[in-house]
Symmetry: D2
Subunit: 468 residues, 4 copies
């Protein structure tokens, strides 16, 4: 019998990149992909992937993990629980946040999140640095130093009481990003409009969760996009606009790109599969569907799909932001909170890919190559994780999800591996499921077992990517 | 001899409205126009207007008179000096401001300006109420009450340190305007962008007046327009955008109007006849040409003319804001101020019409009817001064300027009747000049004499106009 | 008793121009307006207009009168019947066509229509010259000569089998218009698209009148507008786009005007008050509502109203094109024609103003001044009939319609004064009606009597107007 | 020694797809790629590609080969000479035309071109069927039958005297394409405008080649695009707009795509690297740079690069249309032809890739992955040649070009392998050159030798691709 040449081979699956889909074996040596081909020589271990799809592991470039909110609520997941759930969903790289609050020193913040991730993560990770306090020291010393250490992206909020960055400090941050070669990501909504809507709604007794969607008036999104884009253009700084939710917002982005501006944008499954109507549930239950910006309308969903198709939006992330539906999370203010007292956010790391696979591959919208692009390759490229991550290519990390395209799963809360305790997508029947997942050549998910140990994920230092 | 039928007749001139230009006598009884026709019966007094143009007196809907700036500087004019200069320039109605500063009660503010105007004004006037402090009392009690008293327009600033109104209180003001039926006028520039530019320019020693123009980055205008329009649309409140200076700003307005939004806009002679290059003078002299927003480029001038032609902009006002070029005004911070220390503003009440007549009528750009529309009829209609003001029509106030279309005047500082001491248009040679001016049937200007006594102007109570 | 000063006075009505509405007497000497004022001295004849509106007579700038169609059908009206019906509807000036067919010499065509009009017209008129045969002689000799004789507008068709002018000869005509200073008016629809739709519809048995609306696919309008505008821009020639019917068409025009192009446009009552649904009647009856382009949807109606409001469209004409609902007209091919065999066109001279008055004044959409502008002043200016026509101004022709704003009329076929025998607006109840009409100082309509004799209307020679 | 596993291996080069660039061996078995990986087992033959780039062979989707023009001129190349030159330039697939002229039966036309290609081609090929005569038989019988035989694309001309298809037959062709699942490609320029310009230019003696560029007025492109897109939208038929040359044209396409329309577009090197100024040469020499549409301005070049970057244009083809600069080609009408007498077209098969490699890879504009996409992968996908052609993927045809990225070549006429005798790019110094080229596993180019025999290229039957 022949000597094994490779450490591992995935045999006979259909491999997909954003360009090509073909039948081939994928051979792995150590942590990386060694070869892709027909009839490759034997390996120490072989996985039979006949009838399966062999896809790059997902890259989720927007997730809140073990993060303290500005309101002082710790979200439901640890790095371990969050990354395990991500892995079960076919995702092998995640970019959570190192979140500064006012008064905190950014290097310490980054160090703290490093420690948490190092302890818990089962998949590889990088960080976006959230800047809430644009002190001179932060902007002129800390950002350049930390970008050099591989934290090549910054996130800012244009809304939220204790997080928002006003226009003047935002320009300081944009300039720091420009000079350091970092991407600037933004939660862009107009703070004043939302605050004014909230004030008036609550004053009139409109307190149920569904009024959260009302309070984020549509114009608050497009307005903030326009303002942010204008400022970024002044500085000539590339930006990534997070979680686009409205048709108007998507149009602002298309127009800006058409003028040659360096504007990137993402949306999330909640904006493609939910609507504001989902918040309209009895009592406080709608809180489970509350996120910011809120889901909108069916017509916005269509506009977002088209924007994805045209390349106006380039990625789909989860914006995983898990809060339990109990007194530790959504109901912290009691069983009958007004919508302003409810923590915003949904769990999403685990179902992002199955939801999109079902829609894009099984139901055929945009197709398999575009699924790979939007969920893995494009985020890897934009955030400069490529060529290590995001594609099945010789020399790349062997981060691979093997999908059974025919497996049908009806989603239930108890099926989920994160600590949120519910999913807003419970009850949906999805076709296509990741059955085995590899991270750097290690099989970390096999059926319903997670084989990875906490802390086995590694930090990914990044330089500037599309922003450089 | 026949008994005089009318009090006064202007014989044989060419009368113009926005619709028609024709030769006719204009007969006045008391304060109003009684008839317009050929061969009208005799009057007690007759003015020979053969070879002259008989036009409605100008309506200047944006002028700062005897107003204390937020920085505590009183501008150079009194109501008397300002309205005398306006009258010499063919303007017979003016809308200055009753300017609240933080902490002031609006009714008292209005009363104070009433007293000043009553004492000094030689032409009729109304007030825009500047709101700098949107307290609950101001918004819920004072605005509705004062609008009912005839002050049917509000002005806010989106920039200037002690005046600017942030998005959230601005929505309160927009709603108060909506509910009261008042127009909302705005100085719309992005405060953060300008502040950031100023900070950086000064830090690097770019202190000369010409850097004022640099500090108001072009995007600060279009951005603020978009934001204001978005908020106004949310409230369904008509707005008037003051002093449009850029092509991009004009485009934002055209697009908004094309969507059916109730957006009105003005520009001023300084944006049609000056450029940023005019601020580039030795020493501090450029301060004489400093206003906000600053003059821009020749290409912006062209864009503004086209926007006027298309109806995207509806009026041309002076934005008269007079500061002497000495230690009481522009040089209050000394003979070598940095640009941030210089009061912004230019005198303009007197030359607004001659400059525009020269360009539009003598040189032919857009023509006489459009001159009448932009400078008199449209502002009268938008601010609900029509049918009393703004046109030559039976029953209207006999506010009339008789122009010699052939008189050529070379502008000089000492020719001006306001107290600024200089004009940014000195040295220009203009063709066409108002030789006699009537206010409510009284001849107030005759050649170079002002015949009106201080305080003879009257307050014009207005209900909501286009805003109602 | 005092000697009469004027020939005629209309006493105490409310006079309206596009600028002003005021109570005044209107005095007439000979054929023109001598004075407008309060308490004017007596006249030989006086009309009591108290409680009435005194408006400029309508100018209908698009009407087919006594015109032979390319298919050889003479339309239902003579100049007498058409102009009598126009006068009953408050219209005092009309611009029908001198319609060349292939092979005809244009000077002869113009002479022939001159003769017809001279014999029959009871109101004043001018001609648009329809060019169907752009021979070298037509373009280089006849057009310049006839424009000099006062025929300062040309019309072309981009569709209709024997009338359409292809792109290459159209450029010749545009250049001839440019060099002569004539306006170029166009029926702009894509011929190939319509022909293709017709061919396919008929082949499949879709022959009822309602399929006429289907055959004129929406895109055939916007496409032809874009093409025409592109060619006119190449030649720098002003154009008037006739009978805009779709929102997309209106948008093309707005965009072109925003680029500074000299594009004017009209719509007609049928596009503001009818929809394609009106053609859906049993048997052939829908033929009564057939015109080209066809009425569209309610949403198009809204778009057209907004385009009128914004000034994107400047005039509303009737496109009067009368064919009897019998074998001489609509049913020339028999009682069950296919839609292609039915002559296109509706009567409209008489009801254009009452329909619009009801909508704009009585129901308040856009208002009285805009009614005057769209139906009288603007067409008079665009076609260079102003200052003689289109406004109530001293020196202008005394073409005046006195309206009873409270008179309610329910429209019936037998009420009409043209020879069509039906009106597509039968059954509508309108508020506001012209009760007396004057042409050049003569009372031509008094209640339900026409006092004018055939041939009393005069030809109006025009130079280039907005096109010059 | 180990037994060879593969037929051929390209060792150690940098492989590029539109997604990934990585170092790897590429192994070939028979005609297809068997594996891509590091340290692959040995092959019968090995090519050392260290320091080289291993790219998919180019797909040139628009080339005129051995084609008789409507004017009766046979172009300069045979299938052999054309495909040899293509191969030397790194192109391994070409889509020339089977060109119907009026009166010809389409099946015979296709058969004739089949015969020519079969005899001469050294690389693989497919055909676009040019329809000049949309008879009922052509549209209803021949097109469906031939599409089923694998000719899944149709080309039409909207200009050129004997080729142009008017709007009505164009709709028949669009519908035939829709029903057959074929792509519709178009040379879209407004015929009337160009014809009119030509007529006037020649009449005034403007006969030199440079006036060719003047005659194709810019608007003739955008207008035809708009018209074609409108008609295609009516039929819901995907279209490919050939050779976009103007910024306005690119904008029309971007807008259409933004509306969700199925519009694809290409440009060519001549529009990215030449300008109208290149036609301005003494005597008739400018004829060498004459093509239709003509090259435009530097600013159009920038607009086209941006449109490629944004995905508004998806492919870059050569539009190879070779005419010798002698009496058989450009000078057929003699040594001093007027521009209308000169055959339009440039040779381009050989230099398309080197020109683009130099600009995109060596000079860095858009980069290597985008080079691969625009020149190989995207055309393969759009025309349904993928996955056989257009990418380096397991199972794909081994059509590979090995590039030396450092080789510098100064272009000279005599270097070219086609029969045109000149190249419009002579004198340019390019960096990066294809040194070996494989077609289906055969080495066809090695240095400056062509190893392929005439007729070794194969026909590629295609079904509908993006159009289906
Ligand atoms: Zn967010
Ligand atoms: Zn988030
Ligand atoms: Zn201001
Ligand atoms: Zn001001
Ligand atoms: Zn028509
Ligand atoms: Zn007509
Ligand atoms: Zn072509
Ligand atoms: Zn071609």
């Amino acid at each position: 019998m022949t000597e094994p040449v490779y450490d591992l081979i995935i045999r006979g699956g259909r491999v997909a990149t954003t360009t090509d889909v073909f039948e081939a074996d994928v051979a792995i040596s150590g942590e990386t992909i060694a070869a892709v081909g027909k009839g490759l020589p034997p390996a120490k271990r072989e996985i039979d992937a006949r009838g399966k799809l062999v896809l790059p592991g997902g890259v989720d470039s927007h997730a809140h993990i073990e993060q303290l909110s500005a309101a002082g609520i710790m979200n439901a997941d640890t790095f371990e629980s969050a990354t395990v759930s991500a892995a079960f969903g076919g995702t092998t790289t995640v970019i959570p946040f190192a979140a500064q609050h006012v008064g905190m020193k950014l290097p310490q913040v980054v160090e703290d999140y490093h420690a948490l991730a190092k302890k818990g993560a089962v998949i590889d990770y990088a960080f976006h640095m959230i800047i809430a306090d644009a002190t001179k020291e932060t902007v002129e010393e800390h950002i350049p130093a930390l970008v050099k250490q591989g934290h090549a992206s910054i996130k800012i909020f244009m809304t939220y009481d204790r997080l928002k960055v006003d226009d003047e400090p935002l320009l300081d941050i944009l300039l720091a990003a420009r000079q350091s070669g970092a991407m600037l990501c933004a939660h862009a909504e107009n703070h004043g409009i939302i605050a004014w809507m909230v004030k008036r709604l609550l004053a009139r007794g409109y307190t149920m969760p569904k009024y959260h969607a009302v309070s984020h008036a549509r114009v608050s999104e497009a307005e903030a996009f326009t303002r942010l884009i204008g400022m970024a253009a002044l500085i000539d700084q590339p930006i990534m606009i997070f979680h686009v939710s409205t048709a108007e917002g998507a149009k602002v982005i298309r127009d800006a790109r058409g003028q040659g501006l360096k504007v990137f944008a993402e949306t999330c499954p909640q904006y493609l599969f939910l609507t504001a109507g989902d918040l309209d549930k009895p009592g406080a239950e709608g809180a489970k569907w509350m996120c910011s910006p809120p889901p909108r309308t069916h017509s916005d969903q269509e506009a977002l799909w088209q924007a994805l198709s045209l390349g106006d939006l380039q990625t789909i992330s989860s914006d995983h932001a898990p809060y339990r539906y109990d007194e530790t999370g959504k109901l912290r203010a009691g069983p009958n909170p007004n919508f302003k007292q409810v923590a915003n956010g949904l769990p999403g790391l685990e179902l992002r890919l199955p939801l999109l696979f079902d829609a894009m591959v099984s139901k055929g919208r945009l197709g398999l190559e575009k699924f790979v692009e939007l969920t893995a390759t494009a985020p890897a490229k934009i955030y400069n994780l490529h060529p290590r991550k995001g594609s099945i290519a010789v020399g790349a990390d062997a981060d691979i999800a093997i999908w059974d395209p025919n497996r049908e799963v009806t989603i239930a809360d108890e099926m989920m591996h994160d600590l949120t305790g519910y999913t807003p997508f419970a009850g949906r029947k999805l076709r296509g499921w990741p059955v085995s997942v590899l991270s750097r050549g290690r099989v970390i998910i096999e059926g319903n077992k997670c084989l990875a140990s906490a802390g086995s994920g590694k930090f990914l230092a990044r330089s500037g990517g599309e922003a450089a």
